[in-house]
């Protein structure tokens, strides 16, 4: 029955792959072009200015671009690490203990997924400005640490990967609850927590609205916001378009690298949460 070759299905799948890779290929080529070439030469002809473009990007306003990249790495790295830890501890507690208020806490957290970011970001901005915390690193980090989606996933992972009798046995042996969590449960949940980390890393790295609202000083901008402000100025200074294109290329490289090296953790089962190989 399997004798028929999968010609058309393979073609459809490869067509999808081509569609998804196309803009990435375009930016690779476009980044090699000078401003004149970008608007005049054929799309697929490679230019000669990649090094010059990178040099210009490096020199743009005293190297502020690298500051943006470093900021993005800081927001996403620290934010996702704290978020994975918090999700792990909370998810474990919600999955493995029966206690009063558990359903209430879980439902409230899940409802948090549904609240639009802008509905939160504006009052968060107003409240943080009352305590003088707007335009600080903390103003972007703090709201990024709690992730309802991460807690939801961690709860499912805890239920699926930490066996009840192991916890019970440790308890009988006199291990404290903190010790059971730290040396038994969390290590068992690591593959799931890596997934939570990756999700949160990507979502913080990609977040635009929160820093857009919170930050005024462009020295604290993440790279997405920095490139957006450059694009806006490109209306009056077309030379900036070349820098935006080059900057876009540089900014997606670390994410794509992270993505390819850790791709075995991108198995998402929203219903059972089992991490499958």
């Amino acid at each position: 029955m399997r004798a028929r070759l999968g010609g058309l299905p393979t073609f459809v799948l490869l067509l999808g792959a081509a569609y998804c890779l196309f803009p990435v290929a375009w930016v690779l080529i476009a980044a090699t072009k000078s401003t004149g070439e970008l608007f005049s030469t054929s799309t697929l002809s490679v230019g000669s200015s990649l090094v010059a473009n990178l040099g210009e990007l490096h020199g743009y306003r005293g190297g502020v671009f690298w500051q943006w990249v470093a900021n993005s790495a800081l927001y996403a790295g620290v934010g996702a690490l704290l978020s994975a830890a918090l999700s792990g501890v909370t998810g474990y507690a919600l999955a493995k203990y029966a206690f009063r208020g558990r359903a209430l806490i879980f439902n409230a957290l899940i409802a948090g997924v549904l609240v639009p970011a802008v509905v939160l970001a504006i009052p968060q901005y107003l409240l943080l400005s009352k305590v003088g915390l707007t335009d600080t690193y903390l103003s972007v980090l703090l709201p990024s640490v709690i992730s309802p989606y991460g807690i939801y996933l961690a709860r499912i992972y805890a239920a699926a990967s930490v066996p009840e009798d192991v916890v019970e046995a440790a308890r009988t042996d006199g291990a404290s609850e903190v010790r059971i969590l730290g040396s038994i449960a969390l290590p068992m949940m690591v593959p799931g927590l890596v997934t939570v980390f990756l999700f949160q890393f990507v979502s913080i790295w990609n977040n635009f609205m929160l820093p857009y609202i919170m930050l005024a000083d462009d020295g604290k901008f993440p790279v997405t916001l920095g490139l957006y402000t450059m694009l806006k100025q490109g209306n009056t200074t077309p030379a900036l378009y070349t820098l935006v294109v080059t900057g876009s290329l540089v900014s997606v490289v670390p994410l794509i690298a992270l993505f390819l090296t850790l791709q075995r953790y991108w198995r998402i089962d929203l219903l059972s949460g089992a991490v499958k190989a």
């Binding site: 999955a95 957290l109 957006y228 694009l231």
Partner: protein, 306 residues
Amino acid sequence: MATRVRGGTAPRLAPYAFVAPAVVLFLLVFALPIAYTVYLSLFRTEVKGLGLGKGSRSEVFVGLDNYVRALTDSELGAGALRVLGYGAILVPTMLGLALVFALLLDEERVRARGFSRIAIFLPYAVPGVIASLLWGFLYLPGTSPFNQALRELSLPGVDLLSPTGIYFALANIAVWGGVGYNMVVLYTALRSIPRELYEAARIDGCTPWQVAVRIKIPLLAPALVLTSLFSIIATLQVFAEPTTLAPLTNSLSLTWTPLMKVYQDAFGRGDLYSAAATSVLIALVMFVISFGLLRVTRSRAFGGER
């Protein structure tokens, strides 16, 4: 849902200590701002005299007045319709493609599956702002390879940045960024279906097409419901993409989507009270849609969960 805990052995305080940090952060980052928004939505600034000097501006309670204004605001209504139009293009296209790709990945006779899976998922790693920048250049008549190709065939160019084209331009960016994620979710769900089911069907003479339509898609229903829900929520929140494309075209006003209008009200016009009322309305609509969708399909979506 969770594993049952035998009564008595588990200590009483530990779970509270473990959930405390998340609860405190949740209250600070979610609950307090939401309460503050609701509070703001019920007030307005009243200016006395010329509005100069201290104490000439005061907050007065206006009840539901801000809501009435928001509901009768024609620009907000137009924005909501624009987002509906955009979503009507986006959600079926994205989920349809994701479903097709997931089913193809699950077919053993299809080749280059590993490569295709990574390639299609890859755009998920690209921030919406950067994706909008890239596609923006691909749409821009001066740099667009599509128009270049059309010109060489002496065909008229397509302007995706025109007032109508912009719907497709925006939907395409979101499809590009989201199809891979949804494909992976659906594919993961497909992998958890016992293979014996297909074998049995195959022995009964079902073609792969019949297996896909009669067995796989019905079993995917819960995952499809969840991916639809998340896609609809993301669609209603669209902000970064139109904001990023706006500098490249006149087709996108600063109030093109309801959320962009909220941002403009709050920071452009400084009218926090209207912005708050509109925010609450948007949140309510999202809750109604989400719970409605979950209620209708609840037994199917969560029936299998432990």
